[in-house]
């Protein structure tokens, strides 16, 4: 795995407010990389800095061995697919896609050939002469995508690529993006606030919060071994119990003791992260509580119950055991389930 993009100690502040706080990331060739974070986490600023639209206060962005931090956006071998798609309304689909090649002063024949074959690849072969306002949301996105990859950039940056689409179209496009990335062999860097989107598409994910990178890992690793409470809370659904370990039990700050036999030094403050599937609802359960909400998914149901553990507990039940709000419930989990998370 060769490092294609090395983001090194990058910082950027707007009016004293740090948007990027000493961010370092390495992105590999041909990787599908996602930058995931809540709004205000600095992910969009990072993306715009990679495209060249934001200058850095400090740090380097090394692309393929060359520091591009001071290279203007029109000279970077990087293209950006905008969240709003930013298709030129006064041009046809063909002219939109051909825009970048024409600026490179490519021969007419080559432009026509590349644009036509790319439009066919993204499934818009018969739309070349359409105006952009005649297209549906999904079609607009395909045009934006084609326009951004036609120049064969070293990296394609995608800003919230699926956020403007309907759910059904979004699912299709997730697969489509994966397929295209394989087909064209370009490194994709996607910025998104939607963890489902990041988890389903990306090879690796960087989770950002308040201008800092909290963790970089594969989707599975992020889910199974979150590096800190923020990631544990942000990725997937979890119940995060805070306390200290002592003789095989977790002592919560309100004095309640719950099972936890995971290896960790005694006395240190930790968070025990329990995924909904770690907890079972059973008549033999030692922890009792009251159901405060249910969220039915089909095959199963997420139950939120108040069990006197400082925060409500979230767990899954099968679709034949769905409790009603207000019901008393008994739950338990094995002492060796869950993950111990420490503050970073």
């Amino acid at each position: 795995m060769t490092v294609l993009l090395d983001i090194h100690n990058v910082s950027k502040a707007f009016d004293q407010l740090a948007a990027l706080d000493n961010v370092s990331l390495q992105i590999h060739t041909n990787e599908f990389f996602a930058i995931l974070g809540p709004s205000g986490s600095g992910k969009t600023t990072l993306l715009r800095a990679l495209a060249g639209f934001e200058s850095l206060d400090s740090g380097q962005i090394v692309l393929d061995g060359q520091d591009v931090a001071d290279v203007p956006p029109n000279e970077r071998p990087v293209n950006l697919m905008f969240q709003s798609y930013a298709l030129f309304p006064h041009m046809t689909v063909f002219d939109n896609v051909a825009y970048g090649l024409r600026r490179e002063k490519r021969p007419q024949g080559e432009i026509a050939e590349r644009v036509t074959s790319l439009l066919a690849t993204v499934g818009l072969g018969d739309m070349a002469t359409r105006r952009t306002h005649q297209l549906s949301g999904g079609q607009k996105q395909r045009v934006a995508l084609a326009r951004a990859i036609v120049k064969r950039p070293k990296i394609l940056l995608l800003d919230e690529p699926l956020s403007a689409l309907d759910r059904k179209v979004r699912e299709d496009m997730q697969l489509e993006l994966k397929r295209l990335q394989h087909e064209v062999g370009i490194t994709f860097v996607v910025v998104t606030h939607d963890q489902e989107e990041a988890m389903s598409m990306a090879d690796r994910i960087a989770v950002m919060d308040q201008g800092r990178v909290e963790q970089v890992a594969t989707p599975v690793e992020l889910y199974k071994n979150p590096g800190n409470p923020f990631v544990a809370n942000f990725i997937g659904t979890s119940t995060l119990l805070r306390g200290h370990l002592s003789s095989g039990r977790l002592h919560l700050t309100n004095g309640v003791k719950v099972p936890c036999s995971l290896p960790s030094e005694d006395g240190a403050e930790i968070w025990l992260m329990l995924r909904p599937e770690d907890i079972s609802q059973t008549p033999a359960g030692a922890i009792t509580g009251t159901v405060i909400s249910t969220n039915f998914y089909g095959p199963n149901c997420l139950v939120v119950a108040e069990c006197g553990l400082e925060i409500p507990v979230k767990y899954l039940v099968g679709n034949s055991e769905v409790p009603r709000v207000g019901d008393a419930t008994k739950i338990s989990w094995a002492g060796d389930t869950g993950v111990v998370v420490r503050a970073s």
């Binding site: 495209a51 060249g52 639209f53 203007p72 956006p73 029109n74 000279e75 293209n79 950006l80 905008f82 969240q83 709003s84 930013a86 030129f88 309304p89 006064h90 825009y99 970048g100 600026r103 490179e104 105006r131 326009r147 951004a148 120049k151």
Partner: protein, 256 residues
């Protein structure tokens, strides 16, 4: 009258005061008699006399020179001004100052300009008229263009830059085409405003280059002749045509 209700007579009165004078001018321009309000038969002779009138033709020529020059200057400057105040300034004072010439009373602007031109001993003529018209027409163009700029997605220009275009190329290939409806509307408005402008022209013009409104004014001082009715009708026709064209073109380019 159910649709209009009790206030229908107000509407009727307003319409009468608005359109009756215009109708009279048009009807009288075809009156064969030289005496106003005495219909003696249909005639187009005043129109042919008009086109034989050297001073009217001279005025028309000057007005067209002023109108077209003002249109070009105020579109270029107004669009740049609009980009400047929307994209490169957050100060509302700058915006207000930039657009103020559109609402400053003509008389104040005219007196001020005359004083300025005399102070720097700039000879009065069509050049000073064009400069003066540009000052207030530019503000109208800027106001129209500003509205359009605020509607355009700023990512359009970034996208063009991202695709490898130079800042200059982005301006001509993306910014200007996106502003085209505002540019056309602004150009036509600037032309019509300049074409029949009187007060500022009267103050800033030299004696040897009268524009059409000045020519009409000097003719009217000796009474309204049927010839003037014919001229007014033509100016009206011309202005309405421009307004229609501008509305159509804005609609057309917005649908693109």
């Amino acid at each position: 009258m159910t649709g209009v209700g009790k206030l229908g007579w107000v509407l009727a009165a307003v319409c009468f005061f608005l359109y009756a004078p215009i109708a009279i001018v048009i009807v009288m321009s075809f009156n064969a008699s030289k005496i106003p309000f005495q219909w003696t038969g249909f005639s187009t002779k005043w129109y042919s006399e008009l086109f034989a009138n050297a001073s009217v033709l001279e005025g028309l020529r000057n007005s067209l020179i002023v109108g077209v020059s003002t249109m070009i200057l105020s579109v270029v400057l107004g669009v740049l001004l609009a980009i400047g105040i929307t994209r490169h300034s957050t100060s509302s004072a700058v915006q207000a100052l930039a657009l103020a010439p559109a609402i400053i009373p003509d008389l104040a602007l005219a007196i001020g300009l005359l004083a300025l031109f005399s102070a720097i001993s700039f000879p009065l003529g069509l050049t000073t008229v064009i400069l003066s018209h540009t000052i207030f027409c530019m503000a109208f163009v800027a106001a129209i263009a500003r509205g359009r700029i605020l509607q355009i997605d700023p990512a359009l220009e970034e996208a063009a830059l991202d695709l490898g275009d130079t800042p200059r190329g982005v301006f001509f290939r993306v910014t200007v085409p996106s502003l085209m409806p505002a540019i056309i509307a602004g150009a036509l408005l600037a032309f019509t405003l300049s074409f029949d402008e009187f007060v500022i022209t009267f103050f800033t013009n030299g004696p040897s280059t009268p524009t059409l409104p000045i020519v009409i004014y000097s003719m009217v001082r000796f009474g309204v002749t049927p010839e003037i009715n014919a001229l007014a009708s033509l100016v009206l026709l011309f202005s309405v045509a421009i307004v229609l064209i501008s509305q159509r073109s804005v609609k057309l380019s917005q649908s693109i």
